[in-house]
């Protein structure tokens, strides 16, 4: 199918379609060729899809904590690692020593070594010492468990309700009148005057798990089972994570981005997000198509007739850096591709291909591009 975008997209689409939609009796040669030229070829065809907006130092490394729960876990982990390292060194040395020292030599006389059946003192020693180690480890751990799970919520805390969906995140700020998706904005928390974010975790379908390693440990989102967590990032920045409980076909691309804003940035963001959708004359046709097609069954745009809740809220779609829960960057081409054929970006996601003709597709995409 010819498109206005360019032949490389078409080829990428076609090849991807063939991979995903054909029977297992695929041509092996094609598969091998694909894997061989994968990186180069895919980067070319996928350049619009996976741009370079990710900071290369965005490694979700739990050893670089930036929030109190992550800090507490980090310190506990160092303690646990240290104890394990000591145990390892001792036992490893004993093992290595015994394997070397007590090997049968070439000039062995064939006599059996003296049989030692056991030693109560030794058994006692290597029972008591591990028990003490366990006690120490446990006490250190229990402190952290209680510290994180029983933290009091200060009055200035930001309250967020996170609802897990197959395969995207819904974020609501009930006190602030904000409803958004996939990209969580929180204010940076000054330790002298903390403004942590307390997140209530719910699910609309299966189990999910909220995991942004540099900010906190993961907590699951389980239907009919409310969970709670909190973060208080102490530096502004973007922190990445993803769903950490297998939730179905596209569990792998249910990505997370947490934007830690300065207080001013956060205030501005809240103000923008609480406004209803912008109305733009240029996008009238696109809006008409959007509102008379199945789009509104799943999506909502505040201030319009669209109030579907199955999919992400699109009122401020263009305020987000990514679409499809991080699976693609938020560009015109990707948005268009997503509406036209989501299987190329996120095969198995619950967004259906909308089967619009080229003109309507352009119009709807243009309309969405006005939803700042």
């Amino acid at each position: 199918m010819k498109t206005a975008i360019g032949p490389d997209i078409v080829e990428g689409q076609t090849m991807l379609q063939e991979i995903y939609h054909d029977s297992p009796r695929q041509d092996h040669k094609r598969k091998i060729r694909w894997t061989a030229i994968l990186l180069a070829g895919y980067l070319l065809a996928a350049r619009p899809v996976f741009g370079n907006s990710e900071d290369p130092s965005q490694v979700p490394n739990m050893f670089k904590p930036q929030s109190t729960p992550a800090h507490s876990i980090f310190h506990l982990s160092l303690f646990v690692l240290a104890i394990c390292a000591v145990i390892f060194v001792i036992v490893f040395s004993l093992l290595t020593y015994s394997v070397i020292k007590f090997r049968r030599r070439a000039n062995d006389d064939g006599r059996e070594p003296p049989p030692i059946y056991g030693s109560n003192q030794i058994e006692l020693a290597w029972t008591v010492i591990p028990v003490l180690i366990v006690l120490v480890l446990f006490l250190a751990t229990a402190r952290v468990i209680h510290g994180i799970q029983q933290a009091k919520k200060p009055a200035e805390a930001i309250e967020v309700i996170a609802i897990g969906h197959q395969f995207w995140w819904e974020f609501r700020y009930p006190a602030l009148g904000v409803l958004t998706a996939n990209e969580l904005h929180v204010p940076v928390s000054d330790p002298s005057h903390p403004t942590p974010t307390f997140i209530t975790l719910l699910s609309a379908d299966t189990d999910h798990s909220f995991w942004v390693p540099r900010l906190a440990g993961k907590t699951d989102l389980i239907p009919n089972h409310e969970n709670h967590m909190w973060i208080d990032p102490d530096e502004p920045g973007i922190f990445i994570g993803q769903c950490a409980q297998y939730c179905g076909t596209q569990h792998a691309k249910m990505l997370l981005r947490v934007y830690v804003d300065s207080p001013e940035q956060f205030k501005k963001w809240v103000q923008e997000q609480s406004k209803p959708a912008q109305v733009s004359e240029s996008a009238k046709e696109g809006r008409r198509i959007f509102e008379t097609t199945a789009c509104i069954n799943c999506h909502a745009v505040s201030g319009t007739v669209a109030d579907g809740r199955f999919g992400p809220d699109l009122t401020h779609l263009m305020s987000r850096d990514t679409i499809a829960s991080g699976a693609a960057t938020n560009t015109f081409e990707n948005l268009r591709l997503w509406i036209h054929d989501p299987e190329t970006i996120k095969p198995g996601s619950l967004m259906p291909a909308m089967n619009l003709n080229q003109k309507d597709l352009d119009a709807v995409t243009a309309y969405l591009e006005t939803l700042r």
């Binding site: 036992v91 059946y117 440990g217 991080g326």
Partner: protein, 557 residues
């Protein structure tokens, strides 16, 4: 007596028509033949499970790879886990137990030979039922889908709303059926050890292998049943519209997790305790010393058996239990490290002062000691609930449990293969090929599973068919996949060695290792009735007593 015995066809007697031989094997109730059937069945599934793993590792070798679709990948990790646990590890351990326990305790067969056969065929059928899903489990994705809900099949992903078609049902029913087989075998092992020991073999004098299998069997009885119950509940939900795990009707997804892990955690002890049993037989013989601290080893194992039922929710630390529950499961999990550590110390104590012989079985057991130490320590890391809030459900956990199952259990299993192959086949294996197998597999195992810990520490969750570039995961995934090549090579060498040695190996004789337990007093392979006269024993090492009448064990034990 001689007139009642049935002449045995020796292991290499192929003068019978193939139909008779097949009929013999299919209808056998002889524990040795059933043991071998279990082992061969498991080896076939080991290869299949390995292929599934290889497919996953190829898909993950680079980010955004397109080797397989997400749907296929999700079926791969589900089938790989399910296969390896239920149709490789359990059958192979039951197989060795079946073969060796009667021989070691001086009995002629298991307590219930026909139950034994029934249990094997049930297990076998369960596996075939599961694999039939590849062609028969029609869902909305086209003809034939295997289950793709993960080997622990969390609710409500397994509800009909989220798993359409019958792929999940193949998982449930295949395991339900083989679960009955497992319970049958456990009943058999327990009754055999309690009721059929030869005169003089008190519980304190039986080989550690028997003790550990006794504890394992008791655990199976109590652990498989919760899984059976949960699977019945899931099937009622899926077939009759029940609401056990239907969160829309007030059901609890967390309850599935509790029931599953009340099975799942003891299950891993069910798997590892027979591995300990292999090590406890092999290490003494190749150190030329009796096991150090036999009573403590028994006590530690029984302790693990009990405490093992109190730790299950450490798989659920992230589920949102309150801080008291999290603390409880932290301390029980840490506590179970104590008896486990004691066992490691006792094995070292066995080698200490001995004369270690580095034949292939011992190589694998020594590697097991190093690897199980590491596996235990990463387990301690995971036992600290807050640390688990980061590491749980990540590749760190995947690395940890593969370290236990491959680095611990599979390595001792390889050791057991080489140790008892001469007894089962009458031939010696090729020692050079054995060493090649060991080193290839050792290198591959460490390449794959040492470095697999790192992506977990860097935030890579498990069960993802692809991952984003730029998160620092690429190089580690690449190395993990490279290790697979060595493991495959090692496995080929292993199978080649078994086949070659079976046909061309040197005759082994009764007791090639100069060992001390009763199985080595029989011929290799043993006659069908095991012992012409039931032995009478006085110590834990009856053959030592015979070989060293001037210095028998029963004077000192």
């Amino acid at each position: 007596m001689a007139s009642e015995t049935i002449a045995l066809t020796a292991a290499h007697d192929v003068s019978q028509p193939i139909g008779t031989i097949l009929h013999d094997w299919v209808t056998t109730v002889d524990h040795k033949k059933l043991g071998i059937l279990y082992i061969l069945y498991a080896l076939v599934f080991l290869v299949i499970g390995g292929i599934e793993a290889t497919i996953m590792r190829i898909q993950l070798i680079v980010p955004h790879n397109h080797f397989v679709s997400p749907q296929v990948f999700n079926r791969m990790f589900t089938m790989h886990g399910t296969t390896m646990i239920f149709f490789v590890a359990m059958p192979i351990l039951f197989g060795f137990g079946n073969y060796l326990i009667p021989l070691m305790i001086g009995a002629r067969d298991m307590a219930f030979p026909r139950l034994n056969a029934w249990s094997f065929w049930l297990t076998a059928f369960g596996g075939l039922l599961l694999y039939f899903s590849f062609v028969g489990g029609n869902g909305l994705y086209g003809a034939g889908t295997a289950p793709d809900v993960g080997w622990f099949a969390y609710a409500p992903l397994t509800a009909t709303a989220f798993s359409m078609g019958h792929s999940t049902d193949f998982w449930t029913l295949g395991l339900l059926v083989s679960g009955f087989g497992s319970i049958g075998t456990a009943v058999n092992i327990l009754a055999t050890i309690v009721c059929l020991r030869c005169p003089g073999m008190t519980l304190g004098k039986m080989p550690l292998f028997a003790w550990l299998n006794l504890v394992m069997a008791a655990m199976v009885l109590l652990a498989i049943s919760p899984l059976t119950a949960a699977q019945i509940m899931l099937s009622l939900d899926r077939f009759l519209g029940a609401h056990f795990f239907d969160t829309q009707a007030g059901g609890s997804a967390v309850m599935w997790m509790h029931f599953f892990w009340i099975f799942g955690h003891p299950e891993v002890y069910v798997l590892v305790i027979p591995a300990f049993a292999f090590a406890s037989e092999i290490i003494p013989v190749f150190s030329r010393k009796p096991i150090f601290g036999y009573p403590v080893m028994v006590a530690a194992t029984v302790c693990i058996g009990f405490v093992g039922f109190s730790v299950w929710a450490h798989h659920m630390f992230t589920v949102g239990m309150n801080s008291y529950a999290n603390s409880f499961f932290t301390i029980t999990t840490m506590a179970i490290g104590v008896p486990t550590g004691i066992k490691i110390f006792n094995w070292i104590g066995t080698m200490w002062g001995g004369k270690i012989i580095f034949k292939t079985p011992m190589l694998f057991c020594i590697a097991f000691l190093f690897q199980f130490l590491i596996a235990g320590l990463t387990g301690i890391m995971l036992s600290a609930a807050p640390f688990d809030w980061q590491l749980g459900n990540s590749y760190f956990v995947v690395a940890h449990f593969h370290y236990v199952i491959v680095g611990g259990i599979l390595f001792t299993l390889f050791g057991a293969f080489y140790y008892w192959f001469p007894k089962m086949s009458g031939r010696m294996y090729n020692e050079t090929l054995g060493r090649w197998h060991f080193w290839l597999f050792f290198i591959g195992f460490h390449l794959t599973f040492d470095f697999m810990h790192v992506p977990g520490l860097l935030g890579m969750p498990r069960r993802i068919y692809t991952y984003e570039p730029g998160r620092g995961w690429e190089i580690w995934n690449l190395i993990c996949t490279v290790g697979v090549v060595f493991q495959i090579a090692g496995t080929f060498v292993f199978i080649g060695n078994l086949l070659w040695s079976y046909f061309k190996g040197k005759a082994a004789g009764n007791d090639p290792w100069d060992a001390w337990t009763l199985e080595w007093s029989t011929s290799s392979p043993p006659v069908e009735y095991n012992f012409a006269r039931i032995p009478v024993v006085k110590s834990r090492r009856p053959l030592w007593d015979i070989k060293h009448p001037e210095d028998p064990d029963w004077k000192y034990e």
